[in-house]
């Protein structure tokens, strides 16, 4: 499997406080990696650095063949190559409230990629249908349930056909049945050859649907390996602590 995402020696600071202290991380094409850790471990920062929303101090990031360098975040006009290859689904889905589900999905293809409207509509409907929300295409975000909004947000991120999909706590608004359905949908995306990096502290979800698990603790990667192994026989106290809190709602 070729590498969709490669992170080496990543360091990031917020103010004067180090948030990431040398993180190495790989996601292969067709692989689902769960990025785990308690709140404040640095999970979101990793995603935001890879999505070029936050600067980083040291290290390298290779995402979908696009290289990011330490220092300030480049201007959007210099990030076109990254934007085409890396999609992101935000924790609170961040759908645009003034647009319908379909318009949310077609916005980037029509305006950023300059697809004809008919092609964008067709691709968007296919994505929405594939995620089981085709019937809700003309609904506004406020009319969607948490699960529906989550899947529309995934469709929106997938519309430009990215190699890498970043997801921040995708299960936080879902009931157990919906989590299962989401897991199935993500598995389908991986089968298409995409690499998925999912920040989560939902142990059940990671165990059921991730290929590999990496555990972050205070900005350092403390444990990594196949999901079944790491989550069954944890070696680091931070992982054990995660498992202790397993029963609590996310």
């Amino acid at each position: 499997m070729s590498g969709a995402l490669a992170v080496r020696g990543l360091q990031a600071v917020r103010g004067s406080k180090p948030v990431l202290r040398g993180v190495d991380l790989d996601v292969a094409a067709g692989e689902i990696v769960a990025l785990m850790g308690v709140s404040g471990a640095g999970k979101s920062t990793v995603l935001r650095v890879v999505a070029a929303l936050e600067p980083f101090a040291a290290g390298t990031v290779q995402a979908g063949g696009f290289a990011l360098h330490p220092g300030p975040v480049p201007r959007e006009s210099r990030l076109r190559g990254l934007r085409a290859k890396v999609g992101m689904v935000f924790q609170a889905h961040a759908l645009f409230p003034h647009l319908t589900a379909l318009e949310n999905v077609t916005l980037a293809p029509v305006h950023a990629l300059r697809w004809p409207a008919a092609k964008a509509d067709a691709v968007a409907m296919e994505l929405l249908d594939g995620l089981g929300v085709g019937a809700r295409a003309s609904a506004y975000p406020r009319e969607l349930s948490g699960g529906e909004a989550q899947r529309v947000a995934i469709a929106r991120a997938l519309a430009p056909d990215p190699m890498v999909l970043l997801m921040d706590e995708p299960t936080s608004a879902l009931d157990p049945a919906r989590r299962g359905a989401l897991g199935e949908a993500l598995r389908g995306l991986a089968r298409q050859g995409r690499g998925l990096l999912i920040a989560t502290h939902d142990v059940d979800f990671a165990r059921a649907h991730a290929d590999r698990v990496v555990v972050l603790h205070e900005g350092v990667l403390v444990e990594a390996g196949p999901a079944a192994e790491v989550l069954t026989r944890p070696t680091h106290p931070a992982t054990r602590e995660l498992l202790l809190h397993e029963a609590e709602p996310a």
């Binding site: 999505a51 070029a52 929303l53 959007e76 006009s77 990030l79 076109r80 934007r83 085409a84 890396v86 999609g87 992101m88 935000f90 609170a92 961040a94 759908l95 645009f96 409230p97 003034h98 916005l107 980037a108 305006h111 950023a112 990629l113 506004y140 975000p141 406020r142 929106r156 991120a157 430009p160």
Partner: protein, 491 residues
């Protein structure tokens, strides 16, 4: 002046002379008389040596009447156009500040005998001396005057006959400065005022042939006819003993014609009040004028708001996205505009900048209100742009939208929804603030109502009508805003 010195002396507790007269005067209530010191000399003006004291021939005549009544005069400042209504309210007993003897006044108030005859004279620019000699020569031209005066009535009649365009001012100085500046082609006003302006500012000529003659009177409320009759007796006595002449000579408005006029007045029997034919003052007669003025208010407000929105968006975008220099400059603009009265801004734009750029009144009104409201709009838009959650902008970035696309497709539309309700409120406020532009000669709804009220002698019906028109404009707007807000409520 000697009398004033005595009064001053008494007031200071040092008066040794005239003790018996002043004790008597002190026993009676003061004789309150109303006038407008803004009208200036030679009628009533603040004394340059002591602005708390007024002087002028009307001041002296009021003093003579008070003296004749054995009372002390006390000046009450009142806006010239409101003299009649303040009189009805009982703010003072007599109004006299170049008040004209007009049929409407005779119908409504008890007038003294006319004590001064004046001519309505036409002032034109020197180059137009031979072109505009009479009102008939001014067909289709703009002619300025003071609102609610005999001259204004004359211009309104000429408008019907010849299509001359009357321009009504709130004061008697700016008609002449606007004449010199070329904003109007002639000014019709009393010769006293015209002569004064010629001395003060110059730059125009007065046509020798008067358009009409009129006379100044003192006004009493109808219930006060007995006091009016006493005042008439005093005025006749002062005409006979030459006191009036002496006063008019002091103020350099005496002439042989005036002497002949005084002789005529003394020979005549007092004129009957309310003898003039009753004029049509029904609501219906004023409705077309009010409707037209409401149209001016609407067009003015819509244009000013359009300017304010366009400029406001530019200012807000500059303050959110611009470099530091631009941000500071725009912040200064916003604070200066919001920190000074819109009335002052209109004056500066229309009169203050007249030597640099000579804006037509309506354009100045649109620009003045537009610039003013742009400052407020920009703050609304800035707050609305900043109210859009950061994650929305990040989502737009991760989708590959450029910064401008993110503003146009994501941030702008959401900000508009935040801004809509305050914008509508501002438009309703602008609709009402548009009444301020009457100070720069635009006759809009409130000004037209004031003209109507002055002529009708009451604010009750005109005020209610005017309020109904404003409400019929603003209530539907507020309703639409509430509906849009509900429909667009951001989840």
């Amino acid at each position: 002046m000697a009398c004033a010195a005595v009064l001053l002396g008494v007031a200071l507790g040092m008066g040794a002379c005239g003790r018996s007269a002043s004790t008597e005067a002190a026993a009676k209530p003061p004789f309150r008389w109303g006038g407008d010191a803004e009208g200036g000399a030679p009628f009533v003006e603040a004394d340059p040596a002591d602005p708390r004291v007024v002087r002028g021939f009307d001041v002296e005549i009021a003093g003579m009447i008070a003296e004749g009544l054995g009372r002390k005069p006390r000046f009450v400042q009142v806006a010239w156009a409101s003299i009649g209504q303040s009189l009805e309210r009982g703010d003072f007993e007599i109004g006299m500040s170049g008040v004209e003897d007009r049929p409407e006044m005779r119908e409504r108030y008890a007038l003294t005998i006319p004590y001064f005859e004046f001519q309505e004279v036409l002032a034109v620019r020197p180059a137009d001396r031979d072109r505009y000699r009479t009102l008939a020569d001014l067909a289709g031209r703009r002619v300025g005057t003071l609102g609610a005066t005999m001259a204004h009535d004359l211009l309104l009649e000429a408008q019907k006959r010849t299509g001359l365009v009357p321009v009504s001012y709130d004061d008697d100085i700016h008609p002449y400065t606007d004449l010199v500046a070329g904003r109007v082609d002639a000014v019709l006003l009393d010769n006293v005022i015209a002569d004064r302006s010629l001395r003060r500012t110059g730059g125009f000529v007065i046509q020798p042939e008067p358009v009409a003659t009129g006379a100044y009177v003192g006004v009493f409320a109808r219930r006060n006819t007995a006091l009016r009759d006493s005042a008439n007796a005093i005025l006749r006595a002062r005409m006979q003993d030459g006191s009036l002449e002496a006063s008019f000579r002091r103020w350099e408005v005496w002439s042989d014609a005036q002497a002949a006029y005084h002789q005529r007045v003394l020979a005549e029997a007092p004129a009957e009040d309310g003898a003039g034919a009753t004029r049509d003052r029904s609501v219906r007669a004023y409705l077309p004028a009010l409707a037209r003025a409401a149209g001016v208010t609407v067009v003015l407000s819509v244009l000013a708001m359009a300017l304010a929105v366009a400029l406001g968006i530019a200012v807000a975008a500059g303050r959110v996205y611009g470099p530091p220099v631009v941000r500071v400059a725009l912040a200064v603009y916003v604070e200066v505009v919001r920190g000074t009265p819109v009335l002052l801004q209109l004056f500066v734009l229309y009169y203050g900048l007249a030597s640099v750029v000579r804006l037509p009144a309506f354009a100045a009104a649109v620009i003045g209100l537009g610039l003013n409201y742009a400052a407020y709009e920009s703050e609304i838009y800035r707050a609305a742009l900043q109210a859009v959650p950061r994650q929305q902008l990040e989502a737009a970035r991760t989708l590959g939208l450029s910064e401008f696309q993110a503003l146009r497709l994501v941030r702008g539309p959401q900000a508009l929804r935040h801004a809509l309700a305050p914008m509508t409120n501002d438009f309703v406020a602008l609709l009402k603030d548009s009444s301020l532009v009457s100070v720069i000669t635009v006759v809009e709804l409130t000004k037209q109502t004031a003209i109507y009220a002055t002529n009708a002698g009451s604010w009750v019906v005109p005020g209610i009508l005017c309020a109904l028109i404003y409400l019929s404009l603003s209530l539907p707007l507020s309703h639409v805003a509430r509906r849009l807000e509900r429909r667009w409520s951001v989840a």
